[in-house]
């Protein structure tokens, strides 16, 4: 029997891996695509058209820093003509007043700007780049232009204790939406896990702040809390399910079920230069590999929660156990849950905690 596969709703368009920032939790792969390998504007327009035809209604332009891609406004305009909801996920670096109005004119619906912390010193230290003052100034321009503004802050050991001030910053600049993304440990973040993983107490304190502020700001600002899955008893579902809701096209044209799936060795990914997006979504081995439940290991196969979390995140299973078909170790019943427990134990034991330097993500290089 052939499985019923629904069309995707969203496309994450990673235009480039190049970025002025060096955040030590960057979700880009350790081996980044070079500028020479990037798709052209024409390629992207074709990808957007194909995506719209197959049912994609939202496109997120991301990276790296998507503003380093030439002609991004052409892509926004094209997506807008295809009646897609357009979202720009940016560090804010490279955004000028002129560019803001150009993008608005092109039909951009939402701008999501990242902040690394609530204050200049820490924000610049985490990003490895003096970007805070510019970010602070450009979000005001975005608001003046009458555009919908979201802020995104990745949370970890170094900035969780200033969560109240982070929320205050978002309120001050008039953000309509704030995404508080507890670090997910893949790629660069996994490399820096000892330096980034918060203690249980720190998470508990921050969660209290989040809950109180969410209630206080209910009618003013939407606040999203991405769960710290190392401290959750059950794993997070993988992006709403592997190949279920959205797809990612990486700078070189590889099509992935999620932004980090490229790390899974043994899976080969098709490329938009050689195949249609529709063919890749419905027919490719990589997208079909973890659809449904047939692939599930024990104890997932008989678990009541399998419809909710789908066995957890495939990338995390692979990153921690070397086996992409394993139960996500974040699950309390996973055979390899001890891997998470060991990491947590390190983060909660002061004696264990050593001052290790952060490994900043580097620029793509040959």
């Amino acid at each position: 029997m052939k499985r019923q596969v629904e069309p995707p709703f969203s496309l994450l368009a990673e235009l480039t891996h190049r970025c002025p920032l060096h955040c030590p939790y960057c979700s880009n792969p350790l081996e980044m695509a070079l500028k020479e390998q990037e798709l052209s504007t024409e390629d992207w327009c074709r990808v957007l058209t194909e995506a719209a035809e197959m049912g994609v209604v939202e496109v997120h332009f991301s990276g790296g820093e998507p503003l380093l891609f030439p002609n991004i406004e052409v892509l926004v305009e094209h997506a807008n003509e295809l009646e897609m909801y357009t979202n720009l996920i940016t560090s804010g670096v490279g955004l000028t007043e002129e560019k803001v109005y150009e993008l608005k004119e092109a039909g951009l619906a939402n701008v999501q700007v990242s902040f690394q912390a609530a204050d200049r010193e820490l924000s610049n230290r985490i990003g490895g780049y003096k970007a805070f003052d510019h970010k602070r100034a450009i979000v005001e321009v975005i608001k003046e232009a009458g555009m919908h503004l979201s802020l995104n802050v990745v949370l970890h050991q170094l900035n969780l204790d200033q969560l109240d001030r982070i929320i205050q910053l978002a309120e001050e600049v008039g953000a309509e939406r704030l995404e508080l993304a507890n670090t997910q440990y893949y790629n660069w973040a996994l490399r820096n896990r000892d330096q980034l993983l918060p203690s249980r107490e720190q998470i508990a304190r921050a969660q209290k702040v989040y809950e109180a502020e969410k209630e206080r700001l209910a009618s003013k600002m939407e606040i999203i809390w991405v769960i710290p899955d190392y401290y959750a008893a059950t794993p997070k579902p993988c992006m709403g399910g592997w190949g279920a809701i959205g797809l990612t096209v990486s700078p070189n044209g590889d099509v992935l079920p999620c932004p980090t799936a490229g790390m899974i060795k043994g899976l080969s990914f098709e490329n938009v230069r050689h195949q249609s997006l529709s063919c890749i979504w419905y027919e490719s081995d990589s997208f079909n590999r973890f659809r449904g439940e047939e692939w599930m290991p024990s104890p997932c196969r008989t678990c009541d929660l399998r419809h909710e979390d789908g066995g957890g995140c495939r990338c995390q299973a692979y990153a921690l156990t070397g086996d992409a078909t394993a139960t996500d170790p974040a699950c309390q019943w996973a055979p390899e849950h001890h891997l998470i427990e060991a990491a947590i134990s390190g983060a909660n034991d002061d004696m264990d905690r050593q001052e290790k330097p952060l490994v900043y993500r580097r620029h793509p290089s040959k």
Binding site: N110, H148, S150
Partner: protein, 105 residues
């Protein structure tokens, strides 16, 4: 809240966009990081939330677009106003509709 809705003019929030999706044959409300699949009635009401019509007017338009069936099951006007009001209030709570005190388009 009820009183504001009765005298105000509901308008789809600036962040939201309505779209008829030909692939799924469904009406959608597109939001940052969220897609809401709408039923026919919800889509018709939201399309009328343009900042120039009161709930009363929206209900009249909606009612005019329905085929009048001479059955007991067809709701009274007052019942429809109440239903539309409830729906608009729910949408307001979600932040997808805003109530304006003055007409604007």
């Amino acid at each position: 809240m009820g009183a504001i809705i009765e005298t105000g003019y509901p308008k789809l929030a600036a962040k939201g966009r309505l779209k008829y999706d030909k692939v799924r044959e469904k009406h959608l409300l597109l939001l940052p990081e969220k897609v809401v699949v709408l039923n026919e009635t919800a889509a018709s009401i939201l399309a009328l939330c343009d900042g120039t019509q009161s709930v009363q007017t929206i209900t009249e338009t909606l009612r005019a677009s329905l085929e009048i069936r001479d059955t007991a099951a067809f709701p009274t006007f007052d019942k429809m106003v109440a239903d539309v009001t409830k729906f608009v209030m729910d949408m307001t709570e979600e932040g997808w509709v805003v109530i304006q005190h003055e007409k604007t388009s």
